[in-house]
């Protein structure tokens, strides 16, 4: 019953530790304008704007859609802001797509960003109130125990995380926008870096980036006049579960399993490894690649690390994961999910440049957040559904 939704424009900023040359509005506009240019549109052609980012504490501007409304050409138009923790970049794109699929709008601009250099990510993510019982500092401190649990449960050898860290950084060298570009990246280099949150080493973690990502989504009619080939939305899904409850599987959360099942059903996919050509998956710590390979059904439980080890997820493997270099190479938190969704779209549009997966026609974009409890996914394809 839903109307088809096309991605006709994608725009990204260069991701950097710091973008001292750009204001917050300037950063978003840089990405948005590139998306508009890609779509052959101008600000006035846009019907509505949907923005997303992680906690407002990062930049100290709360409900920033107010400050950014006219910066994104939304004077006299609808603008709204989505926040679902780390999955927000993905859920923002899904909300924007919904505006087209429901027939409410024809051309929607969606932008996600983070300007982490304005404060400090560890602080912004773990401001504790007087009644907080958590002693955790930062995301690494939260996720490291789950990674250890995975290693134990699956019997994966220690070097799997290193392999992902190297592979994603090699891919990043082919991506003009990527933040971490480490020529000559190698297992030895990764293994020589210190343990930050054992078992996570420094180069097995994501950087902290400034950056924005934008897309123009369009109805079938509006997509007809787009100058570049569109990607089409084949399915979208979101799932959430509580962070702490008895019996929760934090290594292989059911929210991720259910979300994947929903989006595969919509896209008519039964064997994701075979039917998808590539995937952009939210992997902020290298070990999450094997963990999500299992969670997303690309292999059986306990088999994920073997897929990684075999090279299947490399750019020249049978199911490339994160050809863009992924979150491990660029991480403006609020935008990281949307970058996954946008990179998936670029792949099926054949516009991914040097990191293009040859002949990609269907791709998965994935994001997660909170305590691995919020999930957002979409599948995009070259063909109109």
């Amino acid at each position: 019953m839903a109307e088809p939704c096309a991605i006709i424009g994608v725009g990204q900023t260069a991701y950097r530790t710091r973008r001292p040359d750009a204001s917050m509005a300037g950063l978003l506009r840089e990405a948005a304008r590139r998306a508009l240019d890609d779509a052959g549109l101008t600000w006035k052609d846009i019907d509505a704007v949907v923005i997303g980012k992680a906690p407002d504490l990062f930049e100290g501007v709360t409900m920033p859609e107010a400050y950014l409304a006219d910066a994104l050409g939304a004077a006299g138009k609808p603008i709204m802001r989505v926040h679902t923790a780390g999955s927000v970049g993905g859920s923002t794109a899904i909300v924007a797509a919904g505006l087209v699929q429901s027939g409410v709008h024809d051309r929607v601009l969606t932008v996600a960003w983070e300007k982490q250099s304005e404060s400090n990510a560890t602080w912004a993510l773990t401001v504790n109130t007087p009644f907080t019982t958590s002693l955790v500092v930062g995301a690494g401190g939260y996720f490291a125990p789950h990674i250890r649990a995975y290693m134990r449960r699956s019997g994966a050898p220690d070097h799997i995380g290193t392999l992902v860290a190297v592979k994603d950084r090699e891919n990043a060298l082919k991506n003009q926008y990527a933040h971490l570009k480490i020529p000559g990246i190698s297992r030895e280099m990764v293994e020589s870096t210190p343990m930050l949150w054992e078992p996570i080493r420094y180069l097995e973690t994501c950087p902290s980036s400034d950056g924005a990502c934008a897309m123009v989504l369009a109805s079938s009619d509006a997509a007809r006049s787009a100058p570049n080939p569109p990607a089409w939305v084949h399915g979208t899904a979101m799932r959430s579960e509580p962070i702490f409850f008895a019996g929760r599987d934090t290594v292989n959360p059911r929210g991720g399993i259910d979300c994947a099942a929903d989006v595969y059903r919509q896209a008519g996919i039964t064997d994701p490894r075979a039917e998808l050509d590539c995937a952009e998956v939210y992997v902020p710590f290298s070990w999450y690649e094997p963990m999500w390979l299992e969670n997303l059904g690309f292999c059986g439980e306990g088999e994920g690390w073997k897929l990684t080890e075999s090279g299947a997820t490399a750019l020249d493997g049978d199911i490339p994961w994160n050809p863009s270099g992924g979150v491990l190479s660029s991480n403006p938190i609020g935008a990281s999910g949307m970058i996954r969704f946008a990179e998936a779209a670029l792949q099926v549009r054949g516009m991914a440049g040097e990191h293009q997966v040859d002949g990609a026609r269907r791709a998965l974009g994935h994001a997660y957040g909170g305590g691995a409890q919020f999930f957002a996914m979409w599948i995009v394809g070259s063909d109109r559904p």
Binding site: S23, E118, S119
Partner: protein, 306 residues
């Protein structure tokens, strides 16, 4: 801060914000003490400048134009009880100010001086000017505040003189210094002129016959003063024309010793002298005139002295 605060949300050291080219240009000019706006493609001038036209989202041009430093208030609010985060710790106004040459308005502090209530001259449409800080750092608070544009001035003026009161006045004040009130009788009209001038203004003839006058007289007319004056007693006070008994013209003097609303035309009064030890050669030896227990003089008898 309230004493029951148990949680503070504060990023240590404050957020570090890169400002980009347009805000950066504005703040840099501001640091140099200049105000600039940016021109949109449509020709409008935005102040404060943005990277985009607020109505269309289009990029602005790269043309920066000088604006202000004067502008017009488009609306204002009055903070009677400033918050700790406010820039002033006494009552002040916030205002939207359209700087000369700009098409949009800048929000800033409007300092109209120390007033408990908004002063009457504070109104929409008033003209104001930016006051820059001396120690500017490149922030919106490099403008310390806006202040009303000058519409009137105070002009302090002080000149020094060595004056003589003239012989007649000197003689009169010599009398006062001794507790006496002296006048001159005119040979032509027979009237007593007090204080004397050495001539009769009416007849144009010199006078020299001294007459000592009693310290009693009659109020011919008076004013109740409600306008404070630093040199005067507390309001309300009464200034009155007092016709000394035997004098041909009245003297302006304070009347006290009864409520202002009970002072009457025709009321009989007597000079109240300061204590003798405070006397100098000046009229201030007489504090004021105060009522005496005598019947009022009928109006007919004073009407010619008004």
């Amino acid at each position: 801060m309230r004493s029951d605060v148990n949680h503070v949300l504060e990023f240590p050291g404050g957020y570090t914000r890169s400002v980009g080219p347009v805000i950066g240009r504005f703040l840099s000019e501001l640091r140099d003490g200049r105000l600039v706006g940016v021109r949109t493609a449509g020709g409008r001038v935005l102040v404060p400048p943005a990277e985009y036209d607020p109505d269309t989202g289009e990029d602005v041009t790269d043309e920066f134009v000088p604006v202000g430093p004067a502008g017009t208030v488009t609306t204002w609010s009055w903070v009677a009880d400033p918050r700790p985060t406010h820039p002033l710790d006494r009552p002040f106004a916030w205002a939207l100010i359209r700087l000369d040459g700009a098409d949009t308005a800048l929000l800033h502090v409007l300092d109209v001086g120390d007033h408990a209530e908004p002063p009457r001259f504070l109104k929409t449409g008033m003209r104001v000017r930016a006051k820059f800080r001396d120690d500017r750092v490149g922030g919106i608070r490099d403008i310390e505040c806006f202040r009303p544009e000058v519409t009137s001035i105070t002009d302090p003026s002080r000149l020094e003189y060595r004056l003589q009161g003239g012989r007649a006045l000197d003689r009169f004040l010599s009398g006062i210094a001794e507790g006496r009130i002296i006048g001159h009788r005119c040979d032509v009209c027979g009237q007593v002129i007090v204080p004397m001038k050495g001539l009769c203004p009416r007849d144009g003839v010199p006078t020299s016959e001294e007459v000592e006058l009693p310290h009693t007289g009659t109020v011919t007319t008076f004013a109740v003063n409600n306008l404070p004056d630093p040199r005067a007693p507390e309001v309300p006070f009464v200034s009155a024309y007092v016709l000394l008994d035997g004098a041909g013209l009245t003297m302006l003097a304070l009347v006290a010793g009864l409520p202002a609303d009970q002072v009457r035309m025709g009321m009989r009064v007597r000079a109240a002298w300061r204590p003798r030890e405070e006397w100098t050669k000046s009229m201030s030896n007489i504090k004021w005139f105060e009522p005496i227990d005598e019947p009022d003089v009928p109006f007919d008898e004073i009407k010619d002295y008004l």
